[in-house]
């Protein structure tokens, strides 16, 4: 699936390109982000996410292309005149000002009168649960609290779009999970478009309305979290999110032959001619080792590895020479330890044909 047609665009990128010297860091990016959306840019480190955000914020000039914010071309507008605010990865708080003044900074610049600033700052601090720290200097706050100040300082200006550059990356895992939920609920409450940059796939999937998967300056796929997870359209997208059981083979007669003995049917796939090289993938949790249903495609195999992950158990099943599948099974309440498979056990791996995804 590609991006949905835009009805109420918040950010529109057309052919956005950035080169540093000879290297192209962002390569003809086209994106339409809708008003009120929680949109994530997901990609490995160095793929050009920060560079893209910096161009939208106005800190870096595009080599080519246009940037529209709220339908208005801002490509050559300086940052202070763009209706865009940023939550920086380092938070970039003003250490010489207390929390209250940090948060009210943008409104003061806009010339909002003192009493409305005080009122809105108080509301905003309430929203991020920092009502009691208004008079503290940032140096007295914890990492999570500094992060909230940075968020409040940007949000209070009610920008057309809020840019967040890996805002949770510096927090420890537990705090990060809590902040993910909180960030999402704040976004729902204020209704402002969030353009969220992350290299953490779980984060992107669980928080976003839509996700764009970026690789080497190019958007590989853009869609809802379900789209990009269940129906990856490129080898990179399939491999970057989750475990993918990627197998290479040749297309022939509605099936992908991935080895002389294994041919996987892919009824839904169109557009390949017999003999075309294709890749095929099936998500580990879609594969069943027991309780097969009639329509399933089945492959006999042998367990080669069992690893217990608490909520799930992961098996590696050998289904042919040099061909293994990773299978993820829920550890359901009725299951006991002795119900788990052990290496050497003969099994049958089965999945529904619609869970076979063919990538060209």
């Amino acid at each position: 699936m590609s991006s949905a047609p835009t009805t109420n665009p918040s950010v529109t990128l057309r052919g956005l390109t950035k080169r540093f010297g000879g290297t192209t860091v962002v390569d003809h990016l086209d994106l339409d982000i809708e008003s009120g959306e929680f949109f994530s840019l997901l990609g490995p480190s160095g793929c050009g996410k920060t560079t893209t955000l910096r161009m939208i914020a106005g800190f870096s000039d595009p080599t080519e292309g246009t940037i529209l914010v709220g339908g208005e071309d801002v490509t050559s507008t300086p940052p202070h005149k763009r209706d865009v605010n940023t939550v920086f990865q380092s938070y970039a708080l003003f250490e010489h000002l207390d929390v209250r003044r940090n948060v009210g900074f943008g409104l003061r610049r806009k010339g909002v009168d003192r009493s409305s600033i005080d009122k809105r700052v108080a509301e905003m601090l309430e929203l991020v649960e920092l009502g009691d720290r208004a008079k503290d200097k940032p140096s007295r706050l914890s990492g999570g609290q500094r992060q909230r100040v940075a968020l409040a300082r940007a949000l209070i200006n009610q920008p057309k779009v809020l840019l967040l550059d890996e805002p949770l990356a510096a927090l420890d895992l537990k705090l990060r999970r809590a902040m993910q939920a909180e960030l999402k609920s704040i976004q729902r409450e204020v209704g402002i478009t969030f353009l969220f940059v992350t290299h953490d796939q779980d984060e992107a999937l669980s928080m976003s309305d839509r996700v764009a998967i970026m690789c080497d300056g190019v958007v590989e796929q853009c869609g809802t979290p379900e789209d990009v997870y269940e129906r990856p359209t490129s080898v990179f997208a399939a491999g970057f999110i989750g475990t993918s059981n990627l197998m290479n083979g040749l297309w022939s007669d509605g099936c992908v032959s991935v080895s002389p003995t294994v041919s996987i049917p892919a009824p839904g796939h169109q557009g390949s001619a017999d003999g075309d090289p294709v890749s095929v993938t099936v998500r580990p949790e879609k594969i069943w080792l027991t309780e097969h249903t009639p329509g399933m495609f089945r492959l006999p195999g042998t367990i080669v590895e069992t690893s217990y992950h608490g909520a799930t158990t992961q098996y590696v099943v050998s289904v042919g020479p040099d061909l293994t599948l990773t299978v993820l099974e829920q550890n359901l309440p009725r299951m006991r330890a002795e119900d788990r498979w052990s290496p050497g056990d003969r099994v049958e791996a089965g999945w529904l044909p619609e869970h076979t995804v063919v990538l060209r």
Partner: protein, 275 residues
């Protein structure tokens, strides 16, 4: 079983005592003899403040004192402005080019002052500038920029670019970002650098000697030339006063920025930034 005995580091303590004695005894002697009631510089015969009284009535020395204060103030102001601008500029130049330029700005710290002095003298006479307190100020600024730049860059390190961008993101023009955010954040560092430069320039002899005109001369130069016509204990008096003033300034330069707020002060340059 061998028992490890904690031995007192006798030698180290001894060397340290000798070192400090060597360093400070002559200075103590100056302070002591400034309080002598006779003109002798070898025997202390009684306590008196007569040389301080002498000093207060010595017009030439007082003029020089004022001249030195003016030079120090002007050089401090000039080097603060230029050094800060340089530091802000260097922050924007990344990579090898930035490192190279950064290293070049540090050269005045290691260049022998006498070389800087001779070079400045040659330059000023070469372009036909009449030697005066102004030329002293110019030379001292050249010398002091490096101190300011080092201290300010230490404070800027890493944070400045994103903080400046945050300011612009929140509605500041580039100029407002510097005025409303960068400079206030730099304040402790600027105060420290200013005090340090003031103290260094105030009693600097070498540069002043090469680049000053005839009248009035900066205090160190005046003291030096008056010694050639016989040492008066009044020199001891002024030396003691200068020592006290400089010590006070240096202590202030180290301590004030710390009291004002966290961040790099000149003390961090000495202690390696440990907090």
């Amino acid at each position: 079983m061998a028992r490890r005995v904690e031995r007192k580091p006798v030698v180290a303590v001894g060397v340290t005592i000798v070192f400090f004695a060597w360093l400070y005894l002559p200075i103590l002697a100056v302070a002591l003899f400034s309080l002598n009631d006779k003109k002798s510089l070898s025997s202390f015969s009684g306590f008196s403040l007569r040389w301080y009284d002498d000093l207060v009535h010595n017009e030439a020395l007082l003029d020089s004192l004022v001249a030195s204060l003016q030079v120090a103030a002007a050089a401090t102001l000039g080097s603060l402005v230029l050094g800060t601008m340089l530091a802000l500029g260097l922050e924007r130049i990344r990579g090898r080019r930035g490192n190279l330029i950064g290293a070049v700005t540090l050269l005045p710290l290691v260049t022998p002052e006498i070389v800087t002095g001779v070079a400045a003298l040659l330059l000023f006479t070469g372009i036909g500038l009449k030697l005066s307190l102004t030329t002293v100020v110019l030379a001292e600024i050249t010398f002091s920029i490096a101190y300011v730049t080092v201290i300010v860059r230490g404070r800027l390190a890493g944070i400045a670019l994103e903080v400046e961008e945050a300011a612009r993101d929140l509605g500041c023009t580039p100029f407002q970002a510097v005025r409303l955010v960068i400079l206030p954040m730099l304040l402790p560092a600027l105060l420290g650098a200013g005090l340090l430069v003031f103290a260094l320039v105030f009693d600097d002899f070498v540069l002043a000697f090469f680049t000053t005109g005839v009248d009035p001369q900066p205090l160190p130069v005046r003291v030096y030339s008056s010694i050639r016509f016989g040492v008066s204990p009044a020199i001891n008096a002024i030396g003691t006063l200068m020592l006290l003033a400089s010590a006070l300034l240096i202590v202030a330069a180290l301590v004030l920025p710390r009291l004002l707020g966290r961040g790099t002060s000149s003390l961090d340059l000495i202690t390696g930034g440990r907090r």
